[in-house]
């Protein structure tokens, strides 16, 4: 092996490692045992962050808990939205969190990038409203803040801060590469689409408080949608995602639909570069768990049906007795008193 060849392969390995870990910060979600991130040293120990993110972590220590919360939210939501699909957003306990599936430019990667940048924006905005962060809407680095301050004209919406933070934290990886490779462009686009899914679904609510409560004076504000709603929106975008390729228009590189018959994608749409594998077989090298052993629905003809989910391998059927909670009595929180009911159900699992 010549030294030149060795160097080249080393470079390739490094590059591959770099392009793989663009979403590695999601590993934060796995660190619930660390406790809160309250010291600068913790930042360095956090796995999955790139150098620039570590710097951001040190500068914005108080926000990091929200970033972690955002990552957790994103993974939970991803798993909920994909619970019936062959790829069910299962995570590994190693880096990269989703295995190689997300490292390639697939549809699934597009969704993961979108939901995770949305998750950070969401969690940071929420933390602002609950008083966990100091800057937020009144932070002067955020666009749209009045120079005269809180007393004169209030602050801008917290969502502006949440989105700005998500932009600088999540996108930093792609930005540092100079946004030239098609993969970087795809990630940036999908990150932005995720944040748009929040921004474009804000609910406007109003209150009238004029003389005797008349609408002579009316104040309106924007309320963030529940994260489930964001997940649903992004799932719809996932189903209608556009396959794109990089083209050079003038001096800038842009992504355009591969099939020129399709109408160009908008800011809110998800885009992907590579087609996905079928996710049928267990392939630990690529982080695909496969569908064997998964429960399926015998009657359904959709993707959760046994036919499709098991990739035609067939399925086992067994009768199991399940113990269910029934005729429960609930309080609004934290109290459930149930009877136990036994029921025999047919359970189908993929071979």
């Amino acid at each position: 092996m010549s030294p030149q060849y060795f160097l080249r392969s080393l470079l390739l390995i490094i590059l591959a490692a770099f392009s793989a870990n663009a979403s590695n910060w999601l590993y934060l979600a796995k660190l619930s045992s660390v406790g809160s991130i309250s010291e600068e040293e913790t930042c360095e120990k956090l796995k999955g962050l790139i150098q620039r993110q570590v710097q951001m972590c040190k500068r914005n220590l108080e926000v990091m808990d929200s970033v972690r919360r955002g990552a957790q939210l994103a993974i939970e939501e991803c798993q909920y939205q994909f619970r019936n699909r062959r790829w069910n957003c299962s995570t590994l306990d190693t880096l990269p969190v989703f295995g190689k599936v997300v490292s390639q430019g697939t549809r699934e990667a597009a969704f993961v990038y979108a939901i995770s940048s949305a998750g950070v924006a969401f969690a940071v905005t929420r933390a602002c409203s609950s008083g966990e962060l100091d800057k937020c809407g009144c932070d002067r680095t955020v666009h749209g803040v009045s120079p005269q301050g809180f007393q004169w004209s209030g602050c801008s919406d917290n969502i502006a801060y949440g989105v700005a933070f998500s932009q600088s934290f999540v996108d930093v990886r792609e930005r540092s590469k100079g946004a030239s490779s098609s993969r970087a462009l795809m990630n940036l686009h999908n990150n932005e689409a995720g944040r748009k899914a929040i921004l474009n679904n804000m609910r406007v609510e109003c209150k009238c408080h004029g003389v005797s409560g008349s609408c002579e004076v009316k104040t309106c504000w924007k309320a963030m949608p529940p994260f489930r709603k964001v997940g649903n929106v992004l799932k719809e975008k996932f189903d209608g995602a556009t396959e794109v390729e990089q083209r050079k228009i003038g001096s800038t590189k842009v992504l355009v639909p591969k099939n020129s018959q399709f109408k160009p994608h908008t800011d809110e749409d998800l885009v992907y570069l590579d087609s996905s594998p079928d996710f049928c077989d267990h392939d630990l090298k690529n982080g695909v768990l496969g569908t064997s052993g998964r429960q399926c629905n015998k009657t359904s003809k959709a993707i959760d049906g046994c036919e499709l989910l098991c990739c035609g391998r067939g399925f086992h059927t067994e009768e199991v007795e399940v113990v269910e909670r029934c005729s429960c009595k609930f309080h609004w929180c934290c109290f459930v008193k149930c009877k136990q009911c036994h029921r025999v159900v047919e359970m189908h699992t993929c071979r």
Partner: protein, 541 residues
């Protein structure tokens, strides 16, 4: 009201006055649009879930969501379930405002709205007509380290109006209900820097309290207050307008007392309008900066109500006095049919306001809309007031119609009249049409700007240039009605030219045709009212 200034004024002068007023009007709009920020700000808060660990030891305890001495928190209720914490031990805490900010008396009022995030669960629905009972307390302090002092405590019930827009299947578990916002609290002054809200939702199964309200995930509050900048601009405007209206009012009344006859009803009504305008203008709100006067919000409502009632009465009486049908009015009692509805309507709104904002002086969490009886009562008041308003407008329209009918009748017979008589009627007609015009213009402007400010977003942007539409609407219409009252008192004050000045002046003006000068010499012909007749007698004598 004989020989008002408007009748004796040349068209040129009238135009000059109009132009000056227009300039002031534009200034009023610009002050709001360019200097002031938007009138109000809404701040969202998410309540932190605290655990009341030592409920039995201390009776009163305040739960701080963040900062020093913060409470023991839980992130979500799954955590509470696993730690076996009961619903009764959970306290929702909201600190107002957010960290590093402080409230200020310039905010004038605080208004809070409650949002419940209720998740759908297959076997934990929200019942029909569910009600939520909240144990709420409010505390304040003026620096970050002193003890919280209790301001109010109440147990409040609110109706849950929630809809689930998706099919109620297991697929949709975890989605949120769409719940109507609930009124939470209203405070008329912001005298303190920091406020703390603690909310408990106690469950008492035997009494059915807080049972069947679904699975609450979060409590969110939205706080609305007036922007400090807007308050300052508003105060400045009031402070400037008060002396302007007051001076013209004094001047007007001096003119009237200088006359030999007693003031007629219309003159008195215009004066009353001036008084009610001054009543609104006087910037007593300055005191709210130094004193903790919670009744300021109520007082502001009352002042506005008085002005509206006065303005409506003025329109009716003005029309009535210009009907030109020889009927003798000139007494308020002659207008009981028309003024009656105004009085009844305003009284209804006053009672309603007292029931809502009046009670809120005692209990800031109170809202009349939360109980069935209260809602019906409130609706009854508002409907009666609405009917009165409709009645009033019918009367007003009918009167305007009568005036116009008489005007067209008179106009056809004008050439046949004697010159003095003709001039008198021409004066009346001009006076009426002029007021009709500016009143309609003002009303139309108000309505248009109101609609514009409701429909469009709060501010318009051109590059770096922002215009606050809502603020411009408030300062603009406020300035407009002030100018309206100002103009009325100025132009409808009795003219000096009236006394002793000869008729030939007017003759010259009209016949010369170079400068159309409308002069009436009402005192020398038979006028429609008794006073006019009396003054004629005096003149003859």
């Amino acid at each position: 009201m004989a020989g008002a200034i408007i009748e004796n004024m040349s068209t040129k002068k009238l135009c000059i006055v109009g132009a000056i007023l227009l300039i002031f009007q534009i200034i009023a709009f610009l002050v709001g649009g360019l200097i002031a920020p938007s009138p109000t700000t809404a701040l969202p808060y998410v309540a932190i879930k605290c655990i009341d660990v030592q409920r039995t030891h201390q009776k009163v305890k305040w739960f701080m969501p963040w900062g020093p001495n913060q409470c023991e928190k839980i992130r979500d209720f799954d955590e509470a379930l696993s730690r076996q914490i009961e619903a009764n031990a959970i306290v929702f805490a909201v600190h107002i405002p957010l960290p590093t900010k402080e409230m200020s008396p310039w905010f004038q009022f605080m208004l809070y709205i409650l949002h419940l995030d209720v998740a759908f669960k297959m076997n934990n629905h929200i019942k029909e007509n569910a009600e939520i009972t909240l144990d709420v307390s409010l505390a304040y302090r003026d620096d970050m380290y002193s003890e919280w002092k209790e301001m109010a405590h109440a147990i409040e019930t609110r109706k849950l109006k929630c809809a689930f827009p998706y099919p109620k299947t297991i697929e949709n578990e975890g989605r949120y209900y769409n719940c109507d916002v609930l009124p939470f609290m209203e405070i008329g002054t912001v005298a303190h820097k920091y406020y703390l809200v603690n909310i408990r939702i106690p469950v008492i199964e035997k009494k059915g309290i807080n049972v069947g309200i679904g699975e609450i995930k979060d409590i969110r509050l939205v706080g609305i207050h007036q922007n400090g900048g807007f308050t300052k601009v508003w105060f400045a405007m009031k402070t400037f307008l008060t002396p302007s209206i007051f001076i013209i009012m004094v001047w007007y009344w001096r003119r009237i007392t200088m006359m030999t006859r007693a003031p007629v009803l219309l003159e008195k009504v215009i004066f009353a309008l001036g008084i009610s305008m001054t009543f609104i203008n006087i910037p007593v709100e300055w005191f709210s900066i130094g004193f903790d006067w919670t009744w300021m919000l109520l007082f502001a409502d009352i002042r506005q109500g008085v002005f509206y009632a006065m303005l409506l009465s003025f329109w009716i009486i003005f029309c009535g006095e210009h009907i030109m049908d020889q009927n003798n009015r000139n007494r308020l009692s002659g207008y009981w049919k028309q003024v009656g509805p105004i009085a009844v309507g305003s009284f209804c709104l006053f009672v309603f306001d007292m029931c809502e904002r009046g009670v809120q002086l005692k209990n800031p969490f109170y809202s009349i809309w939360t109980t069935d009886v209260g809602t019906e009562l409130a609706m009854a008041f508002i409907i009666v007031a609405g009917i009165c308003l409709c009645l009033y407008f019918l009367f007003l329209c009918f009167m305007v119609f009568q005036v116009f009918r008489n005007i067209s009748g008179k106009q056809s017979s004008l050439p046949a009249m004697s010159k003095a008589r003709r001039l008198h009627y021409e004066g009346l007609i001009f006076r009426f049409k002029f007021l009709m015009l500016i009143s309609l213009a003002c009303a139309a402007m108000t309505v248009i700007f109101f609609i514009v400010s409701q429909v469009t977003e709060g501010h318009w942007k051109w590059g770096d240039f922002t215009v606050e539409v809502n603020s411009a609407f408030f300062t603009g219409t406020y300035g407009m009605w002030n100018l309206y009252v100002f103009t009325l008192m100025f132009l409808y004050a009795p003219s000096h030219k009236n006394y002793g000045e000869d008729q030939s002046n007017g003759d010259l003006g009209v016949s010369g045709g170079e400068e159309l000068q409308l002069t009436t010499t009402i005192t020398h012909v038979d006028g429609p009212t008794e006073v006019y007749k009396l003054s004629r007698k005096n003149a003859q004598e």
